[in-house]
Amino acid sequence: MNLSDFKLESQRTYWAKALVELGKERQDIVVVSADLSTSVKTSLFAEEFPERHFNVGIAEQNMMSISAGLAACGKTVFASTFAAFGTGRVYDQIRQSIAYPKLPVNIIATHAGITVGGDGATHQIVEDMALMRALPNMTVIVPADAPETYRAIKAVADYDGPAYVRMGRANVPTITSDKGKFKIGKATVLRDGEDVSLIGTGIMVSRCLLAASILEKHKISARVIDLSTIKPLDHKTVIKAARETGGVVTAEEHSVVVGMGSEVALCLTETAHVPMKRVGIPDVFGQSGDSDELMEEYGLTPENIVEAAHDVIARKGR
């Protein structure tokens, strides 16, 4: 199995498709952009429903609090920009005007992580999941591919509260389908296995699948879990995987500091002690480069996951 065996699709295209469908079905759907509507593809919604799209210019704080005002008056809001500007820059506006009053504002963040590529560290936020996860009332979703993005957008539109949906800039391998309903807070077992569990989120889920097929050649049977909801965490599926396979590797395109892996580690510390290893970006800022090169530079390849799995298995029973 290779990355090239999969179809590569744009998460942004699917998010915009879901958004336009929602716009047709529901009058309460409104969208706020901040001078990146062409990049995050809310421009497609704006073409169809100009009266329900507000572009506030380069003013993300304003964007978040305007979204809160709209939501407080019964609108279901989608506020979309790059992850760097939709979290760090506006943390307090999200905290005070959206999360605290638990308003239905969906923050749809694109261009997250190092796969942004050439723009470099200013744009490659690697700590957005940590920020959003720390907020009470916030739901955090990191879809694995384009079809899952489509389903997640439909799900957050129906959810009465704030949600953060994270996606990257690059096209990602399609490993799920757009059929069926996305269940917030429910992880999906994509491949069963007994020797080790590979828990991935976002683009790392496809890397986990590739790692599992390499491990199979090493006579190791790996379970692969798509942990697309980071918060609330699916404790049941995680604990079950740890107990049944006896070892866990997590993989995320995010800093290992307070990322998905640390949440899984905390969960297991309190419930099921098993050897564990986190694959993710170390405690550093990113840099400019080609996205595939950066994935190698920061240790986010299937081979890195395989290596982590061997390490975990070697520590079993010690």
């Binding site: 952009s33 001078d35 990146l36 509507s37 062409t38 990049s39 421009s43 572009n55 506030v56 210019g57 380069i58 003013a59 704080q61 304003n62 760097a84 500007f85 820059r89 590529g117 050439g118 723009d119 470099g120 560290a121 200013t122 744009h123 840099q287 400019s288 480069g289 080609d290 090169e293 950066l294 530079e297």
Partner: protein, 278 residues
Amino acid sequence: MAVYDKRLLKKLERKANLIRRHVVRMTHLAGSGHPGGSLSAVEVIVALYFHILNIDPKKPKWEDRDRFILSKGHGCPAWYAALAERGFFSVKDLDTLRKLGSKLQGHPDMKVCPGVEASTGSEGQGLSMGVGMALAARLDRKLYHTYVMVGDGEMDCGQTWEAAMAASHFHVHNLTAIVDRNMLQLDGPTAQIMSIEPLADKWKAFGWEVEEIDGHNFTEILKALERSKDVKGKPNVIIAHTVKGKGVSFMEGAVGFHGKAPSKEEYEQAMKELGGEP
């Protein structure tokens, strides 16, 4: 109007043309980047680096140097090209823009690039940093001047106006802001995305000395920059009217070249118009 030596003006014009050729080449080689907002800023950056700024490329951290911040950090190809041509680092390094390990990051990184005074890229923060530098100069009784170039899109950012208010409140007259008024931002014309007019009146209301110039005319740029140093008691802003993508016919006024690198054909066409490879 001040009269400048013809040879000086010729020299600056030649430099501007050279910087433009670098910008097009660099973004083409990188395969990404922001040519439009780099090209509109060229004359102001050239005037600063080749005539106005009191700097020493051999001592980029010299304490008494004038400071320049490119708040609209995405325009850094023009800044990098000027720094290289001024001797802060090798012109050859320009080919490494946006490559893994390069000091020429997609947005300026002050830790790794000599001559870069502030790490920018998230819009709207450079003017506040400039206020800080101007205040530090006053505390240290230093005579250096701080210049900050901001985009007209950055006028949308609340923080721009927080900085504007603070600069006049603290009477920092050792600070000059230059607005690259190229009429476009990322999604389209500023007038359509977020109205910022009457821009000069806004700055005046915030207590700034305001001058409007043609941002591609060296005589006007030099005069305004020199004058701005003599204004006492308040900060200065120069609204430089420019054309996004200036110098390359198909990039001029084109929103599409905000954040898109020229293809091979476009690169060749641009080089023909600009007079050949740098």
